[in-house]
């Protein structure tokens, strides 16, 4: 069991957990992820490691309550524990000294996993320009944290309630246009956002890394559910990634694969909500169709 040492609500539906996991914390590196399973009937949910503290023996996860599994996770309180936590999985981010100027882009809750990468880049003496995107000011997360590890932070909001009105690509274009020599762009966020970033940098031939979070089961290369077309090759995001060359990723295929369980996800969600409303224990008492 892995205890939740601290829980924070970062914005409506976006939660922060600090988990007691000394062995994972000892090995975790920026860019890696964990798999979480809440209880005996839970599914295995991959979540990027937002931060880790080797001395405290903790890792941080940040997630959005989307479907049944993440809602169930979010319903846990400080002091409670999750049943299974597996990691660190995937390859670590490529961080080296003197790479030059790195643009770290986080969209929505994607700001969280970009944070340890930005910090790592900064620690290695690189110039870090960060772009944080959100729909509006009230759901922007991690601004202070990102400011602490960046030379410059640009915020964009879709509705213009804060920072630049527009998308992360609006800010990225400004940086490109002002003649900044960019060594690498790292973008983490919704698939559409990552695709837009890759399209924005392609004409300038700026190396662009994206971090994918496709559907997966085991996270160790066993199921192949997370496969994604990268250039001419089929890659497994769990072991070959999660970071890939954004100019080579087949985003269209990736988006189609994300829809694989859309019908089931809504029925799981209904099931979860109904059981919650009725105050039923998940397994024994519920009279849903499939019991």
């Amino acid at each position: 069991m892995f205890k939740i040492l601290s829980k924070k609500i970062l914005s409506p539906g976006v939660l922060f957990f600090e988990l007691e996991a000394p062995r994972i914390a000892k090995k975790a590196e920026p860019g890696q992820f964990v798999i979480v399973r809440v209880d005996e009937t839970g599914e295995r949910v991959p979540l990027t490691i937002a931060d880790f503290d080797r001395e405290r023996g903790t890792i941080t996860i940040i997630f959005q309550e989307m479907g049944a599994s993440t809602k169930q996770l979010g319903a846990l309180s400080e002091g409670e524990a999750i049943l299974d936590l597996v990691g660190p999985l995937g390859t670590k981010s490529h961080i080296e000294p003197d790479m030059g100027t790195i643009v770290c882009i986080g969209g929505g809750i994607g700001v969280a996993p970009v944070y340890p990468i930005a910090r790592g880049m900064k620690q290695q003496g690189n110039k870090v320009i960060s772009i944080l995107g959100a729909k509006s000011k009230d759901i922007l997360i991690f601004e202070d944290e990102m400011k602490a590890v960046s030379d410059e932070v640009l915020v964009t909001t879709d509705d213009g309630s804060y920072g630049i009105k527009g998308f992360v690509t609006t800010a990225l274009q400004q940086i490109i246009d002002r003649g900044e020599k960019i060594a690498e762009v790292i973008a983490i966020g919704p698939v559409v956002m990552m695709r837009s970033v890759a399209e924005a940098t392609r004409p300038y031939n700026i190396s662009t890394i994206v971090s994918l979070n496709p559907i997966m089961v085991d996270g160790t290369g066993m199921c192949g559910g997370c496969r994604v077309q990268v250039g001419d090759d089929t890659k497994f995001a769990c072991v070959d990634g999660p970071e890939f060359d954004g100019h080579k990723v087949d985003f269209k295929g990736l988006m189609a694969r994300q829809r694989m369980y859309r019908d089931q996800e809504s029925s799981a969600d209904e099931h979860y909500c109904r059981c919650q409303t009725l105050g039923l224990k998940k397994e024994e008492d519920c009279e849903c169709h499939s019991h």
Partner: protein, 467 residues
């Protein structure tokens, strides 16, 4: 009394009924049937059956015990050589091992050794046998095992009995390896059989750490230098799914058999949404491949509600690598065999979902390297099979996670660990390997045999090191 040339049949669920449920297909012998079947054994002076058993069970001895109604004696005899008899009685390919060599097989059907093994093991599980925990010496040495499948479990049992403190590291959240994620409930019940066998091992004194991914959470070197393990046995199996490398394989609705079976067996997706992991099954399912895994995937598809399930296999009936019993069960349940058909492309709709499998007809030519007749495409014979799900069951390779983080341990060109056949010793001192990670995908019992041999070799290695 004249000797019957036929085995006593084992009751099974009716094919029409069982094709709609996940309960076990075969129901096992009653006491009376078991004793009657045991009486068919001639108790040969030189028992040929024994040479067909990868773990050297004293087969005539345990059968004699059943004949004498000494059922506790029978299970003790089995357990001397085999730590998982309830599993092996179900999934061993006895027809190509012990039963193949039975003297009765020359004239009729062999003694039903597998069914008798299952009977003795099940009876003992039902009675809830007491497991005596090992009393470890104060200076007992530690052995690490990576992977809790058949090879790992069997090595663990043997080493524990020798007095070693064994820790098994399992990457998934449930122990058992292929017994848990791969073989379906209707062939090998999880709670009733697999879990009980694993719990018995724990009671014996074996520690199992789940959620522990070797190569990520720790390395083999760290186990030996920082965590005080005297030896490491790598038994990570054949976990990496192969795909066909044909167009359309990443469409929605294409599964590796590994993913499909893992969702169903390990994650219990057949009980969705009570169990939160979803699975998608269409009306028409094509399973590509002809081995046991393909049969498992096909029969699982049927139970999940598919109307038409096809086995698409590029060779003919005789070349099907699956056990005869599995093929027979699959046919009884209504699986449709499309033999001498080879997929060339998966076709999708504009939303990225599978709509058909394009195949080409094949004919058999001269024998190839595997000794089987080589399948050759018949020109101009392409056709489309309308399906909405495709399950690829054409084999599994070695997962590279451990090998790539263990310097000094040789692998072959397929990525399997190079290990001595008799001892499991790898090129790295103190590190042993066995089962599918060494041989490539094979059977439960061969992996168990490798685990057993490695345990003996590890014992010798540690004793020599200490001396």
């Amino acid at each position: 009394m004249s000797l019957s040339l036929k085995k006593h049949s084992m009751p099974e669920q009716d094919p029409k009924v069982r094709a709609k449920n996940f309960d076990e297909v075969a129901l096992g012998y009653s006491e009376e049937t078991a004793v009657a079947e045991a009486e068919r054994c001639l108790n040969c002076k030189v028992p040929q059956c024994r040479k067909g058993c990868p773990v050297q069970i004293d087969i005539p001895a345990f059968i004699t015990k059943i004949k004498d109604r000494d059922f506790e004696g029978a299970i003790s005899k089995l357990k001397e050589a085999n730590s998982l008899p309830a599993v092996c009685g179900r999934v061993c390919p006895q027809e190509s091992q012990c039963e193949k060599y039975c003297i009765l097989a020359k004239r009729g059907e062999s003694v039903a050794i597998g069914r008798l093994e299952r009977f003795a093991a099940d009876r003992s599980l039902e009675k809830g046998e007491a497991v005596q925990p090992i009393a470890y010496a104060a200076d007992a040495q530690k052995v690490a095992i990576i992977g809790s499948g058949p090879a790992g479990l069997s090595a663990a049992g043997e080493l524990a009995k020798m007095g070693y403190k064994v820790t098994i590291f399992e990457a998934l959240h449930t122990a058992g390896g292929v017994l848990s994620y791969g073989i379906p409930e209707f062939r090998l019940p999880k709670d009733k059989i697999v879990q009980v066998e694993i719990d018995n091992l724990k009671k014996l004194g074996v520690t199992i750490e789940v959620n522990a991914v070797a190569g990520k959470l720790f390395t083999v070197d760290e186990l030996m230098t920082e965590e005080g393990f005297g030896a490491v046995f790598i038994a990570t199996g054949a976990g990496l799914p192969s795909f066909m490398d044909i167009p359309g394989e990443n469409l929605n609705g294409v599964y590796s058999a590994n993913e499909f079976l893992t969702r169903c067996n390990l994650m219990k997706a057949y009980q969705f949404p009570v169990h939160a992991t979803p699975i998608r099954i269409g009306e028409n399912v094509a399973v590509v491949g002809g081995g046991n895994v393909a049969m498992d995937a096909a029969r699982t598809s049927l139970r999940l509600g598919a109307e038409n399930v096809y086995i698409v296999y590029r060779r003919g009936e005789e070349e099907l690598p699956a056990r005869l019993e599995e093929i027979h069960h699959a046919k009884e349940e209504g699986i449709q065999f499309r033999l001498l058909n080879n997929p060339v492309a998966v076709l999708g709709d504009d939303q990225g979902w599978v709509k058909a499998l394009r195949c080409i007809k094949m004919e058999l030519g001269e024998p190839d390297g595997s000794g089987r007749r080589r399948p050759l495409p018949v020109e101009g014979s392409e056709f489309e099979l309308t399906v909405d799900t495709v399950i690829v069951a054409i084999g599994q390779g070695p997962n590279p996670l451990v090998q790539s983080t263990t310097p000094g341990m040789e692998t072959n060109k397929r990525g399997n660990i190079v290990a001595d056949e008799e001892t499991g010793a790898t090129t790295k001192p103190g590190v042993f390997a066995g089962g599918d990670i060494v041989t490539g995908a094979a059977t439960v019992i061969l992996a168990m045999g490798a685990g057993k041999k490695a345990a003996v070799a590890i014992d010798r290695y540690l004793q020599e090191k200490r001396a």
